[in-house]
Amino acid sequence: MTKSKIQKLIKDNMMLIILILMVIIFCIFSPNFRSFRNIMNVCTQNAYFIIAAIGVALVMISGGTDLSVGQAMAVIGISIAMFMQNLGLPVVVAIILGLIVGIILGCFNGFMANLLRIHPMIVTLATMTLFQGISYTLSGSKSFYGFPDSYINIGQGYVGPISVPVIIVIVVAVVIHLMLEKTCFGRFIYAVGGNAETARLAGINVNKIKVMVFGIAGALFALAAIVLTSRGGSASSNIGPGVEFDCITACVLGGISFIGGEGKVKGAIVGCLILGFLTNGMQMIGMGTYIQYIVKGIILLASIGYDTYQQTKVKKAPAKA
């Protein structure tokens, strides 16, 4: 009994164990890696990525996918920069307006998916291009610099030894975790992702849930864009795009099902950290960039392969005649 419990614990936390093992291995091989500063740095660098991935995780749990994350982040980053510089709005107001822009972009994705009755993946494939057009039109392909210090502090500030972005990640993770696990709304997200028709017949307003999920994801993308642009001190049409596939990779690594209805916030975070530490660790032990890609690819295949293997083994086991 206890043995099977331990086995289950290991199986449920496989990716976390892989992450810890990986960190330990890098610690052994690289003195530079094992400093608190480096570890904090990696977390801070990846903060925006983790926040965006949590947004994507929400969409995936509800049975969709979002490919427009990166372009949406570019639009939001540029909007905030323009609110502050072109319109001269205070930082707080610019941030609030930025969050609203994020929510609008997200809701638009969800609304279109409902209206056209097509899979969100296709919708966001289209809006990805749409948002790209908007971001270039807004920015005129210029970069924005010279943000107020209070804005820069969001990305670069520290509270004690812990960076502000990491604190934001922790707050986001706790809030979204509680929302998914403890609230009715969270249940409905799993229900819609698990089986939309059953959910509808159980009295759940599936369309509303979908739009809300995309809206919340949009707000998270806005937060990610704020962390990213404030840390880098600049915003442009190139800052943000590219993160979409990393987000999906991290979610899949973290056990969030592509089909929907399954997954946890914890999984998305672990997936992001695996990717983040892997990149950093390989740099620290002096691996070439090209080799890094190869290693990353192999590790991804191996870990996802192992996970799927475990899952199918479990599914085959119970007897049903």
């Binding site: 249940r187 017949l201 009295g203 209805g261 399954e262 007897a319 049903k320």
Partner: protein, 492 residues
């Protein structure tokens, strides 16, 4: 007539962790016979078939087929020996034509020759009197037609032993007769048909022998013409089962639901009343618009015209959510795809429709969720080791109870059961019947859509019949008869 044995399964044993799925089962199958496998869900029928088809490997025993002895099968050997299994889920490719599906996997050299495929298919169809256009796309065919294609595909591979798993589950009366015709045809050509079905009357219609299994063990094999229905039931459940339907007399005068001139995409101008304490049977052929009518009333599909009254008040239902709020619940026909969340736990499923009431502050109260699930586990006698068990792992009967619990948890007074016992074994069926009776005795009202004639006649207080989307008649209890229903159902 003594014919030779074409297949013997000897002392087959299959173990799963903690469960003996097959316990030393031995059966012989003869050439030119229709041999039924009968047993409740979990009796081991499907496992035995999977051993035969090589889908799973047996832990003990031998299979003698075509003069060779095998310790176990692989899908390739099984095929090579002329065994073809037609599963309940059809393995056809919707985007290909009928001919392409039938010829799929055949040895054809060089380029794909569509003409040859069509002529091969046409020839087979003529031989078995099947009327389907070989050039049609499979996705455009009805379920019954798809099944015929599947059977033809099996025959085309020169199968000697054809296994049919619940072949009539989704067929209408005339389609079933068509299927019987084909089975008789196969039999006449010396082929063996292994026939798995829950419907006892079918066995008497079509089979020569019946092998009964129970709890993974072989019980006995009987000649169909020397047995009776009652004997089969007794052998199958291992105990005397009271086959009669629960008696009750609880129809009240108050009208729970009134439907006036309702039309949807599949229905025109349907009117009926449902009283409290009443079970209203809804009959009709497949495609008559029964399920569609129920979905319109429940708000799942669009209502184009007409009025619905609940407790005498006119209501406007635009979504299942609104229907549930008015106390109308639906237990859908397709339990797995629409009734429950297969990958979620029992308590999760039961609580999903009233989760808003199971909270403390803003958060879900796990204790309340558990308490409610325990309440329904007891009330409906859901058999499970734990309420955290995934619904996927339950038997059909227990899954249906979970769906019922979910609907009851939403405080429903009017419950629509669409095919309440499809795919559920006979023991659990009667439990469902008893539960339905208990519910109407409490004053709830039930609409029961069913294709099972016996259940319809046994359970209903009144029956309405649909044909081509229209109401063609209503029968009171003293007018009940299969003939009367069929007459109305085939009404033009």
């Amino acid at each position: 007539m003594e014919s030779k044995t074409v297949l013997s399964m000897k002392n087959i044993t299959k173990l799963y962790p903690g469960v003996v799925a097959l316990d030393n089962v031995s059966v012989d199958f003869k050439a030119g016979e229709v041999h039924a496998l009968l047993g409740e869900n979990g009796a081991g029928k499907s496992t035995l078939i999977k051993v035969l088809s090589g889908a799973i490997t047996n832990d003990g025993g031998k299979i003698v087929i075509g003069g060779n002895e095998y310790d176990h099968m692989t899908p390739a050997i099984s095929r090579g020996c002329g065994v073809e299994v037609i599963y309940q889920e059809y393995n056809l490719i919707g985007g290909l034509s009928v001919a392409e599906n039938i010829c799929l996997g055949r040895q054809m050299h060089g380029l794909v020759n569509k003409k040859e495929m069509v002529s091969v298919t046409q020839e087979l169809f003529e031989k078995y009197h099947i009327n389907i256009n070989p050039r049609a796309y499979v996705k455009e065919l009805s379920t019954a037609q798809q099944q015929l294609v599947e059977i033809t595909k099996a025959i085309s591979k020169d199968a000697q032993i054809i296994v049919m798993d619940e072949p009539t589950a989704q067929l209408t009366m005339s389609e079933v007769n068509n299927l019987y015709e084909i089975i008789r045809n196969l039999k006449a050509k010396g082929k063996t048909v292994i026939y798995i079905s829950h419907r006892l009357e079918e066995l008497f219609e079509i089979t020569d022998r019946v092998t009964i299994m129970r709890d993974g063990a072989y019980v006995t094999t009987v000649d169909t013409d020397k047995t009776t229905r009652d004997e089969l039931i007794t052998l199958m459940v291992g105990r005397e089962l009271n086959d009669s339907y629960p008696k009750r007399d609880c129809v009240r005068d108050e009208v729970a639901l009134k439907v006036e001139h309702v039309s949807g995409y599949h229905n025109t101008d349907v009117s009926f009343e449902l009283k409290k304490g009443e079970i209203l049977g809804v009959s009709g052929l497949v495609g008559a618009g029964r399920t569609e009518l129920m979905r319109v009333i429940f708000g799942a599909d669009k209502k184009l015209a007409g009025t619905v009254y609940v407790d005498g008040k006119e209501v406007h239902i635009h979504s299942p959510k609104e229907a549930l709020e008015l106390g109308i619940g639906l237990i859908p026909e397709d339990r797995k795809m629409q009734g429950c969340f297969l990958n979620s736990s029992i308590e999760w499923n039961i609580s999903i429709s009233n989760i808003r009431k199971l909270t403390t502050g803003r958060f879900i109260d796990k204790k309340k969720v558990r308490r409610q699930a325990e309440h329904y586990e007891k009330m409906l006698n859901i058999k499970t080791p734990s309420l955290e068990q995934k619904v996927r792992n339950l038997s059909g009967g227990n899954q249906q109870k979970v769906v019922l619990a979910k609907v009851l948890a939403a405080d429903t007074e009017i419950i629509i059961f669409d095919e309440p016992t499809r795919g559920i074994d006979i023991g659990a069926r009667h439990e469902i019947y008893d539960l339905m009776s208990d519910l109407v005795k409490e004053g709830k009202a039930i609409i029961m859509v069913s294709s099972d004639m016996e259940e319809l006649l046994g359970m209903s207080d009144r029956i309405i019949v649909l044909s081509e989307g229209k109401l063609t008649g209503e029968l009171k209890k003293d007018e009940f008869s299969q003939e009367a229903i069929m007459h109305l159902a085939s009404h033009e």
